[in-house]
Structures are given as structure tokens and as C-alpha cells.
Subunit: 237 residues, 2 copies
């Protein structure tokens, strides 16, 4: 296959530097939005509608949809649930559509509109995602959602993991991709241990979501790839 570009955008605040109209954008928000989206779609959710604001989510009240809203790591008052993966189990989401707004992840999804394709990545589906990307002729842009536009380590590590899986496939890397892969290689033996030293980890620990964190670092427990189809994320494969 022709040489393709594989670039890493470390936060949505740098997205304007990339021309992604012909690219596949992989949106990454490991703790926890994109992990939960992968898990929910795997568990039979019909679709997930990412929306930017709590108000947009609220506007779906009194429909058959489930409403999920998270801000600053916590479920917003009055909503069914937030972005904990344990809320996206079969019993809760099977056959349902979920309207979701989160601090970082849904923002990144919405900013990616205009891409050739927008798909959702997490450690849960990394192998399936990479195997599919390899078959595509497009450039790939790995978009880390970060934390309020700042760089975070968990999204960077996942981007590095994707680079690691794809790098023998005739891609040109940018410096952010090279750095991400090196960090992934350093951390891969025990991602959880490595991430314990991050600032974010301290913040998340305060929120009491260590179990969520551990769950989001499981590799390849799902195989579906969520893709944006109009306003909805649906199961592509």
C-alpha cells in the first residue's frame, strides 16, 4: 500500500494544525469516554449520540434514549449515568441509544467533523482497530482528547500503542507519534503502574474511580469499532 501519514495530535487545541479532511481520525479519551463508548457499542447499544453540552443532552429528555452526562469526572445531577464503563454493560445499554456528553471526549469527537471517517479507540479495542486501520488507504490522525485541552499521559500512551502496532505498515510518523510510541514502549509492561505517577491519576483517585481506571487499561476485551455515522456513533465492525 502507498505510504500514508500517521500523526498524533496530543490535544484538541492543536487540531487546527492538521488537515484531516481525507484522514481517518481516531478519537481517544481513555479515562473514560472512548473506553465506555467501545464497551457500550460492544454490549449492544444501538447507537451513542455525542453532544457538546449538558443542555443538548437534556433536550433528549422524555425520549426513549438514555441520557449520560459527565463533567469534571462526575455524573451530572439528574442524569442516568456518566462515563463509567460499568454503566455500559449489556443489561443497561443493550438495544438502547445513549445521548452522551463528557468533559473532553465528546468535544474531541465534535471537533473532528469533516474527517473522512471518525472512529473511536481505546485499549479495549486496540487490536481490532489497528487491524482495520491497516487495511485502509487513508492517512490516520490519532486525536487525544486530553484534559481540558492540556496533554495527558493516558491518551498519549494509547496513541503510542497504535503507532507501535502500525509502524511496520509503511506510515510516515510525526514527532508526536515518535514520542508517543517511545512512551508506550516504556510503559507497556504495566500501564497502570506507569500511569500512577501522573497528575491526572491523583485527580481520578480523589474521584474514587480506580476500578474504572483499571478496567479501561484492559487490552482487547472488545472487538467492535464505533464509527460516527451522521450524528450517531454506531458499530462498524
Amino acid at each position: 500500500m502507498q505510504k500514508r501519514n500517521l500523526e498524533v495530535c496530543l490535544t484538541p487545541a492543536l487540531l487546527h494544525l492538521h488537515d484531516f479532511t481525507e484522514s481517518i481520525v481516531v478519537v481517544i479519551d481513555i479515562f473514560r469516554a472512548t473506553s465506555s463508548i467501545c464497551y457500550g457499542i460492544e454490549n449492544g447499544a444501538v447507537s451513542i449520540i455525542p453532544v457538546a453540552t449538558i443542555e443538548a443532552c437534556e433536550s433528549y429528555r422524555h425520549t426513549e434514549f438514555l441520557l449520560a452526562a459527565e463533567r469534571n469526572g462526575e455524573v451530572v445531577d439528574g442524569f442516568d449515568f456518566g462515563n463509567s464503563p460499568f454503566s455500559y454493560v449489556k443489561e443497561k445499554v443493550g438495544g438502547k441509544t445513549i445521548v452522551l456528553t463528557t468533559t473532553n471526549g465528546t468535544h474531541a469527537i465534535n471537533m473532528s467533523r469533516g474527517a473522512n471517517k471518525i472512529v473511536i479507540g481505546s485499549f479495549l479495542n486496540i487490536s481490532s482497530l489497528c487491524n482495520w486501520l491497516k487495511t485502509q488507504p487513508n492517512d490516520v490522525l490519532l486525536l487525544c482528547s486530553g484534559w481540558k485541552d492540556k496533554v495527558n499521559l493516558e491518551d498519549t500512551l494509547f496513541a503510542g500503542g497504535v503507532v507501535h502496532y502500525l509502524k511496520d505498515e509503511n506510515y510516515s510518523l510525526d514527532d508526536a507519534g515518535i514520542a508517543s510510541e517511545d512512551l508506550y514502549n516504556m510503559a507497556k509492561e504495566d500501564l497502570g503502574l506507569y500511569l500512577k505517577k501522573t497528575s491526572h491519576s491523583e485527580r481520578l483517585k480523589k474521584l474514587g474511580i480506580e476500578e474504572d481506571i483499571a478496567f479501561c487499561l484492559n487490552l482487547n476485551i472488545t472487538s467492535s469499532i464505533p464509527i460516527l455515522d451522521g450524528e450517531r456513533l454506531i458499530r462498524m465492525v
Copy 2:
């Protein structure tokens, strides 16, 4: 000393996310602006005036100042020199003031205005810089100039080097700082070899400036710290 923040801003495009009014901002453009500024000030340049545009640089024509202008890695036609460190030797710059505009570095310096102090870092003066930072009560923001607002590896590595020298000094790190230090630790045995794999390295090789690159990776061959005083960078220590 009280706990201080030590943060890394990987490109000027993320600077708006940091409140740096009380911070010392260290501006970093390893290839080659801040290396050359350190070398020029060490070699007796009275001051260096960073300006944003070629026109601003041109406006100093017919003064006693030397005019230096670089764009896209090359000396701009009609100017005395660009940002090669070999132009900043004692014979050329001793006793002189230089007006300098570059693609990335002078842009980052100008964006940092409003900081408590703005100083210039490079591998050439890293030890002297870090020893001074340790004595200061301020938070520190390491500002990588990047390449046209994108992240680059050489500036990130230098930021990581500073984190490495300072981390035992009671600073709180952000995720970008943690990542930068890990990359520095991975690369420090042979910075040049590590940087050979970067996209930037290929670009610079095409410009025929490998000797400049090697020079800019020398540790501690200067001890002065350039600091912005009004419109001019002067020798602080």
C-alpha cells in the same frame, strides 16, 4: 522552599492554557534560535532584540545593529546571518547588539511577554539555568517553540532534561513534564542518535546544517543565562 509548579508547554499553541504571570518562562528552541542566543550572549553580544517579523528586523537597517533573520531554516536574503550558532562567535558578535527574527523561537519569546521573567534555555547552558531556577521561588513554565506550532522532539527532550535536573527540588509536575523527562532519560546517552529518527531531522539534513545540530546538543559549554529586559535579551548571569 515552598512547593512550586514545573510545567511543560509543548508548543506555543498551548500557551493560553497556562497562567504564567507569576512564573519564570524558559523559552526553548534548540534547533537553533535559543542555542544561538545563549552562545551569542556568552560570546559577548551586548544584547539580542527578538522581533516577530522580517519587516521589524529590516526596520533596524542603517543602525549599528547586526541583523539576523531566519525563515524555514534558511537565512533570509539580504540579512547578515540567520540562526546558525557559528554566526554567534566572539569575532562576529562581541560588543554588538543583534536584531533577530526566526520561524519559531522569537515568536515564542514574544508570546511569553507578561511572565514574571523570561529566560532562554538550551543544552549549552542547561546546568547553569537549572542551578539558577532552583534558587527562585517562582513556578516554572518550560515553553517549547516547536515547529510552526507543532510539537517537536528536540525541544521536548530539553524540557525533559530540565525536569530531570529539577525534580528532586520540590516541584509539582504536569503530565507533559512527566512524559518529557521519560523521553529525556531514554535519549540522554546519545541525544543526537535519538533525534536522528525525527521528522525534523530529515528536514534539517536537507538544509545541510548537521554541524549546527551537533553543536546545539553540546551540554554546558556556556554558563550565561539570557533574560528579557524590556525589548532586549541581555546577560543575567
